[in-house]
Amino acid sequence: MADTAVHAAAGHDDHHADHGGHYTSTGLSNNKLAMWLFLGSECLLFGGLISTYMLYRGRHTANLGPDQVWDIPFTSASSFVLLMSSLTMVLAVTAAKRRDDRTTNVWLSVTALLGSLFVAGQVYEFTVFYREGLGYTTSLFSSSFYTLTGFHGVHVTVGVIMLLAVVGMIIRNRIPGDKAEVVELVGLYWHFVDIVWILIFTLVYLIPA
């Protein structure tokens, strides 16, 4: 099934290569520019959430504090996995630019799997914290922690679904427009989500409260 998709897609791509995309004043693609702006806006979103957490992380009167619940080795492992997924995303983008659909699909799938693994790790972590007595409404620390990391988790989830959908669209040859660019856009988003996690991991987990 993938093989036929590869052939069909190659033809499709050739057509667009001739086409050469649209003229823009700056030569930048509209889509990419929009994605950058969106990510710029997302920076402020996470900025707000991180600020909230930083303000509230010490506020857990008579309840569990951050350093009492963290499991740094585990979170380090899952952070590393998310980082690796950025690498596989890069490979996917490179393959897409080579118009190698098969390899693109492989790396997109691996990225999606690693992303799912990360979210699974987060679900595991949340469950453990909850069992240890840290509910969502237990303290300001817990509310702001779950909100911040939960928001990030939702972003990863959306990213994984996007990745899987792109794989599906490539297989079915249903991408309107420049395939490599679509993969690249999803890649931009994915890298952004990764970078935000590095920030969260450093500020939330590594710097002692």
Partner: protein, 379 residues
Amino acid sequence: MFTTGTKLLIGSAGLAWLAAAVYGVAQEGALGTIGLISAAVALSLLAGVNAFVRDSNVSATDTEAFDTSAAAQATARRSLWPLLTGIGLTMLALGMATLPAIFVLGLIALGAGLIEWLVQGWSERASADRAFNDQAREVVADPLELPVAGAILFAIIVYAFSRVMLGMSTKSATVVVFSVVAAIILALGVLVALKRRISVPVVTGVFSIGLLAIVAGGAIAGLNGERDIEVHETTADLAEANRCGTEETEADSHASQTVAAKSNPAATLIYDGSELEIDEVGDDGQVGTITLPRSNPTNVMFLNESEGEARLVLELHPAVDADGVAAGPERICTTLVEDGGRQIMTVEFDRPSFALEAEGVNYEFVVAGSDAAVEVIVP
């Protein structure tokens, strides 16, 4: 002019009428007669219908029928959806008898199956061109299928794998398993990407096996249950168990020693090893008593400047009702605070100080295991 089929039916109908008459006269049985008459009526009706539609025969001159008649349509293609609908129905029944979760899953499977069935049926009648019909199906179904399939796959992995992790007996095991699974995925990715000769069925097969393994692992782990995760002790537990002493407890391990700069406490209590000094706005270096508001949660900061560890305790002396049940906790305390460490305590007083005087007690901040104390006046 009658077709062959019509002739047969007309003959049968006539025979049935005859038999009914004979039986009715000869046997005098009402039931049998009614049965035979019914058959005769039915056969007559069928004969009439058949005569009218001419035994569904297509006239050779009716060219339109070549395209529009059912026989001219492409045969229905293989379809997964009746199966899914069936599974959905079964689960629905099963769910009603056993678990509501299965019922809901059945409902979802039923809905998904029916919708897909409808879409496929619609698309197969879209035109005579099979390739085009497939594309038409995709135009309608892709917006649903792609994200939903992605989301389901994602949910399965996340749920199953997190069960596996929760089932691990130790924390270090989770790290190992997590890393190993990630490494396997990566390695497989490299393998498939480099070895271009690996065919699609193989990849699909490996992927399915992997998925199956995770689901199976998740199921087993789910049935086995989670490892024992103990509820962490907190200072609230300490106060309840009257353990606000000098010994180190679980609540004290890894306890925070710093407080955000913007906490804006009403007062800071500084312990220097022998005395509790009060640092209050507009009122510096006061010793002995502090006035704090009634019925208002107030933040008080504890700063330990003694050589060792210290724990601040507030004795609350709650009102006791007729049944001897206290209106609130006896006391609240911080965790053990290291030298130079600080911690916030949120306090609230329900009764004014003079109400306690009658009982011969007062509100008091004390450092556990020392004589340092500050009396709280609540107006």
